[in-house]
């Protein structure tokens, strides 16, 4: 494997890790918002 190949793999891994972090953060926020919404719906029947 050439240094260029290794560099490409590292860059791909880094960008995928960043996107995955953003998606997981968004999922946490969504689950939190769903929980609040469900609580509100439960309170209002």
């Amino acid at each position: 494997m050439t240094p260029d190949d290794q560099d490409l793999i590292r860059r791909r891994q880094a960008s995928r890790a960043r996107v995955m972090a953003l998606l997981l953060g968004a999922l946490v926020l969504l689950i939190f918002a769903i929980s609040i919404a469900k609580i509100q719906l439960g309170m209002h029947g």
Binding site: D5, L8, R12, A37
Partner: protein
């Protein structure tokens, strides 16, 4: 002796996004949203957003699994050969894992956050697209697009079920409209990309039965589609806003379809009427579903 597949670098995240067919997703999300907004029940905005997100993710998963299964076909067609799998930018296993994972996630989230009816219809729509259309019908019969069209017709029903937890006549008519709209829409496309499908060995109607039969079928399918499009108005399910828009836009659709249906083979004008029908059919669906929501909100 077997040859090992070449080792690929990890696929770029943009290639995973491309697997989900984002352009197809736009129409799916729009019709799903309209189904939800036309329903006679209010839905919490967060739950509504989650339902639409699940519809989008489910459609994306179906698209990814479709590309996983059809990598060989995509490689043979000019229109699709730059997709991540035929272009060698991603290995098939990654596409399979991504598709299955996304499908499971969308259905579980829909079931937990929205309701089980919507989750059940979402499951059926994903399985229908992947198993019935992609695996079973597409390579076997020229009617592939007719029966497979049902997969793309489910989103309005899912949106409606997300809001009400139930089913009714109007979302079934919306399903029928998209279902019957699919053959004229895709066959118009297939008429001007016929060579592509022929090269890939896909038995699309123009390849198997010829242009003349395809043109007749476009005309014939437009008749029940027009009935399904206009029916909600005389049935009293919508008001005059939807009635007026559906009659006017469907009449234009019918005229364009009639032009395609009555043309003879090889008139040598770069298939302009077919391209016009294809472009208009997309606009038509957006306008008619938009009118449905506007009508339901005005006369609610």
């Amino acid at each position: 002796m077997t040859t090992a597949a070449p080792l690929l670098p990890p696929a770029d995240w943009r290639d995973f996004l491309a697997l989900t067919k984002p352009r197809v997703m736009t129409l799916v999300v729009f019709t799903g949203l309209c189904g939800m907004l036309a329903a006679p029940a209010s839905i919490h905005p967060v739950i509504g957003f989650t339902a639409i997100l699940c519809i989008a993710l489910g459609a994306g998963a179906a698209g990814a699994l479709n590309q996983w299964y059809e990598a060989d076909l995509d490689a043979a067609m000019r229109r699709t050969q730059k997709r991540p799998l035929p272009d060698g930018r991603m290995d098939r296993q990654s596409a399979l894992h991504f598709g299955v994972g996304l499908a499971a996630f969308s259905v579980i989230l829909m079931g937990l956050a929205v309701n089980l009816v919507a989750a059940a219809i979402l499951t059926v729509s994903i399985l229908f697209y992947v198993l019935v259309y992609t695996v079973w019908l597409k390579r076997r019969t020229p009617q592939n697009i007719v029966i497979g069209g049902a997969a793309g017709a489910f989103p309005p029903m899912i949106g409606w079920a997300a809001a009400t937890g139930d089913m009714a006549v109007l979302p079934v008519l919306m399903f029928l409209l998209v279902f019957l709209w699919t053959p004229p829409h895709f066959w118009a496309l297939a008429l001007f990309v016929k060579t592509d499908y022929a090269n890939a060995g896909v038995p699309m109607l123009p390849v198997v039965a010829g242009e003349r039969v395809t043109r007749h079928q476009i005309g014939l399918y437009t008749i029940p589609m027009a009935i399904a499009a206009v029916a909600p108005w005389p049935l009293g399910l919508t008001g005059p806003v939807y009635g007026g828009v559906s009659v006017a836009t469907t009449a234009i659709f019918a005229l364009l379809a009639l032009r395609v249906a009555t043309r003879r083979q090889g008139e040598g004008d770069a298939m302009k009427p077919e391209k016009r029908l294809f472009r208009y059919s997309i606009l038509y669906l957006f306008v008619i579903f938009g009118a449905l929501v506007a009508d339901r909100w005005i006369f609610a």
